[in-house]
Symmetry: C4
Subunit: 270 residues, 4 copies
C-alpha cells in the first residue's frame, strides 16, 4: 500500500502540471534541457572546445545520466509504460539520451564523424520544450484547418521551381553556375522564396529577364499562404472570442450568434 | 458493336476518375511522369550521366514510347479527338513527347545545343500533374477575381523598377556594376522583390540612400498583393461556408466541421 | 467661328477618352512613349549603341519633336493653358521633352556626364502611362486612408535601423565593412527589409547574434504594413461591392446596411 | 508666490503639448535631437570627420550642454522629480547626455574604444522622438494584444532554426562555412527570415535539399505573424469605427469619413 501512493505522487510531479511541485519539476527540466543544448553548441565551437573539452565531457555525461534517470522514472510511474514509450515524446526522450551511449560503443577513431552526428542529435532535446507551448493551440488549429490549401500551394511552388529551373539551365548554362537541373531548381527555390543568396546568378540578358519573372512571381505568390493563414486565423479568433461552451458535449469554438451546439445540437446557454 | 464498348471503357479508364480502374490509371500515370522527370534531371548532372548514360537513354525512350501510346489512346477513345488535341492538356501531352523525336531528326553535331534544349523541354511533362490538383479551385478562383488589381499592381512595380533603375544608372555608373539601364532595372527588380542577390550593389552614399528608398518601398508594397489575395480569399471562404444549408430552418453560414445547425440544432446533411 | 470647333475637336481627341478618336490617340501615344523609352534603354547598352548610334540619335529626335508637337497641341487646345502647364502631367510632359533640347546647348565635352543624366530623365515619360491605370483607384484609396499609419510605421523602421546600425558599428567595427554609422544604417535597412545583399555581413559572434535579432524583427514587422493594407482593402472591397449610390450627392462607398448617405444624410434607394 | 507660477509655466511649456508655446518647444527639441544625431553620424565617417573634427567637437558639446539644461529644467519643474527620473523617458534623457561627460573622465588613449562606444550611445537620443508618434497607438495596441501569439511564434522559429542549423552542421561541415553549431543557427535564421546574405551557402546536394526545405518553411511561416497582426488590426479598426455614435438614433459603426448617420441621416458630431 506504500508503493502505490509513491508511484502516483511521482506521476503527478513528472507528468502533471496542476500541483506546485509538478510545475517546479517542469521548470527545472526546461532549464536542464536548455543548458545541455548550450553545452552541445559550445562544444562544436573549436576555439572553446579545445580549452574546455574535459569540462564539456563531464557536463555532457551529467546531463545524460540525469535524463536517463528522468526517462526511467517516467517509464516507472506511467500507468501504461508501453504507450508512453511509443508516444511522440517518449521517442524524443529516448532519442535525447541514446546518442551519448552509442558514442561509447562506436568509439574507434574511424567512427569520429558518426559520433559527431550522434552527439548533435542530442539537440533534439529541444523538441521536449514544445510540450510547454500551450498557447500554440490557436495557431496550430488554424494551420491544421488550412493544411490542404497549403499543400496545394507547395505543390504549385515546386512545379514552378522545376519549370523555371529547367528553363534557366537551358538559357544560362554551366558557365553561370547552373551546372545541372537539380542545381537550377535549387536556384529557383532560392529566388522564388526571395532568399536570394547570390551564389548562383544569371549573367545573360535573357536569363536576367527570366529571373525577373521568377522574382515577381515569388513576390506575388508569397501572398497566397498569408491570405490562407490570415483568413483562417481571423475565423479562429472570432470563435475564440465568443467563448461559448456546450454544457452537453463540453466543446467550444461556436460562433457568437449560435443558439445550438454545432457538434451535438444541444441548446447553448448565454 | 464490340468496338464501341471498348472505346467507352477505355475512355472511362483514361479520362474518368470515378471508377477504381480510372483512379488506378491516373496514379500509375503520375508515377510514370515523376520518374521520367527524375531521369531527365539526373541526366543533366554530369557526374551521374557519364556513368549511367546508356541506362538513361533506354529509360528515356521507354517513357517516350509509353507517353506516345497514352497520347494515341487518348486521341482514339476521345469522342471529339480534335477538341482534345487543341485543349491545353492535349498540347501539353504532345509537347511532352515531341522533343525526344525531334532530337532524333536534328542529331548533327552542330545541333547539340538545340537537342539539349529539346530534351529539357520534356520537363514540361510536370504540367500534366496540375490536372490532379483538384483542391486548387478555391485558390485559383480568388486569384482570378483579383486578376485586374494584381495586373495594376504589376504595372506599378514595373514602372517603379524602371524609374529607380534609371536613376541608379545615373547615380552609380558603370564601376559599381550598373553597366546599362536594362541591367539597372534588373537590379531594381532584385531589390524591390527583396530577393537581394548582391551581384550588383551600390557603392556611393547617394546610391545607398536611393537603394534604401527602393528597399523600403518594396518592403511596403509587398503588402498590396497580400492584401488583395487575403480580402478575396476571406470572401471565398465566407461563400463556401454560406453554401451549407440547414434543411430544417433553411439558414446557412455553418462552419465546415459543423454536424448540427447552430440555430435550430437539427442535424446537417453532408 | 471655324477656329473654335477645331480647338474643341482637338481637345476631345487629345484630352478626352469618350470618343473612338480620343481612345485611338491615347493608344498611339502609349505606344510612342514605350518605344521612346525602349530606345533610351537600348542606347545605354554599350554593345548595341556603338553600332546603332546614328539610328538611335535620329529616333530620339523624331520622338522629341513628336512629343513637342503634342505638348504644343495640349497647350493650344486646353481651355485653361496655364492650369494645364502647372498641373502634374503638364510638368511631366514638359520634363519629358526638355532634356533632349538641353543636351543640345550644353554639348561641350566636359558636360558629357550631365548630358547622360538629362537623356536618362526622358525615362520619366513612363509616368505619363500612369494616367491610363484607371483600375488603380481602389488600391490608391485604401493606401490613402492608411497613409498616417504607414507613415508611423516608416518612422519606427527608420528609428530601429538607426539604433541597430549604430550598435553594429560599435560591435563589428571597420574590419567587417561597417566603416561608418551611415554605412551601418544602410546595412540595417538591407537586413530589416529582408533584402540581404551580403556586401556587408557580421563576422563576430556578438555581431551575428545582433544581426539575427535585426532579421527576426524585420521578419515580424513586415506583418504591420500588410495588416494595415489588408484591413483597409477589405473595407474598401466590401463598400465597393454594396455599390450604393446617393441620388442626392452622387457619391458611392456606402455600407450594405446603410439607409442614409453618410455624406449628405439623404435617404438611399435600394 | 512668484516662484510657483514660473515653475508651472515652465512645466506647461516643457511637458505640455496643449499651449502654442509647448508645441513650439517640442518642435525645437525634435530639430535639436535630429541635428545632434546627424552630427554623431557624420563624425563616424572618416573622410568628413578628419576635416571638420573641431567643428563637430564644438557642436557636440553645444548640444550636450543644451540637453543637460533641458534635463535640469525637467527635474526642476516636474511636480515629482523622482518619478520622472525613474520613468522610461527620464532614463533615456539621462543616457543621452551621460556619454559625453563620461568621455571626458575616461580620456586615456587606451580607452579610445570605450569612448567611441559612449559617443555612439548618444544616438539613443532618437528614442526621445518616439514620444511624438501619437498615431502609433492603434498599431501598438494591436501588437500588444497579440504579443503572446507572437512570442509562441518566435519560440517556434528559434526551435526550427536550432534543429535545421544543427542538421546543416552535420550535413555540410566546416568546408562550406558551417564551422560550428551557433554559426549554423545564424545561417538558419538568415535563411528562414528570407534575408539570404550568401556569406554561408550549402555546397552538397543533401545540403541544398535541406536548405530548400528551410527556405520553403520560412516562406510559409512568414504568413503567421502577418495573419496574427492583420486579424488583430481588423478588430482594432472595427472597434475604432464602433466608437463613433449617432446622437439621434444611438447607433455606432460609422466610417471615419462619415458626416451623417447611415441609419437615420442625422448629422454626426466630431
Amino acid at each position: 500500500m506504500a508503493a502505490k501512493p509513491v508511484k502516483e505522487q511521482l506521476y503527478e510531479v513528472i507528468f502533471g502540471t496542476e500541483t506546485p511541485a509538478g510545475r517546479r519539476f517542469d521548470l527545472y527540466l526546461i532549464v536542464a534541457i536548455i543548458l545541455s543544448i548550450l553545452i552541445a553548441m559550445l562544444d562544436s565551437v573549436e576555439a572553446i572546445s579545445s580549452t574546455y573539452h574535459y569540462q564539456f565531457f563531464m557536463l555532457e555525461w551529467f546531463f545524460t545520466l540525469l535524463f536517463t534517470l528522468e526517462y526511467g522514472a517516467r517509464l516507472y510511474c506511467s500507468p501504461k509504460p508501453g504507450s508512453y514509450a511509443r508516444s511522440f515524446f517518449g521517442i524524443v526522450d529516448l532519442l535525447a539520451i541514446l546518442p551519448s551511449y552509442l558514442a561509447l560503443i562506436f568509439s574507434g577513431s574511424s567512427f569520429l564523424v558518426i559520433i559527431r552526428l550522434l552527439r548533435v542529435l542530442r539537440i533534439f532535446r529541444i523538441l521536449k520544450l514544445m510540450r510547454y507551448l500551450r498557447d500554440a493551440n490557436v495557431l496550430w488549429r488554424s494551420m491544421l484547418s488550412s493544411r490542404r490549401k497549403i499543400f496545394v500551394f507547395f505543390c504549385s511552388v515546386l512545379v514552378l521551381a522545376t519549370i523555371f529551373g529547367s528553363l534557366m539551365y537551358v538559357v544560362e548554362g554551366v558557365e553561370s553556375g547552373f551546372t545541372s537541373i537539380p542545381q537550377s531548381i535549387y536556384w529557383a527555390i532560392v529566388t522564388i522564396t526571395t532568399v536570394g543568396y547570390g551564389d548562383i546568378t544569371p549573367h545573360t540578358v535573357v536569363g536576367q529577364m527570366l529571373a525577373s519573372l521568377v522574382m515577381v512571381t515569388g513576390y506575388s505568390i508569397i501572398a497566397v499562404p498569408t491570405g490562407i493563414i490570415t483568413a483562417e486565423l481571423a475565423d479562429e479568433l472570432r470563435r475564440e472570442r465568443s467563448n461559448k461552451y456546450c454544457a452537453n458535449c463540453n466543446r467550444s469554438g461556436h460562433d457568437s450568434d449560435a443558439g445550438h451546439c454545432k457538434y451535438c445540437g444541444a441548446e447553448l446557454n448565454p
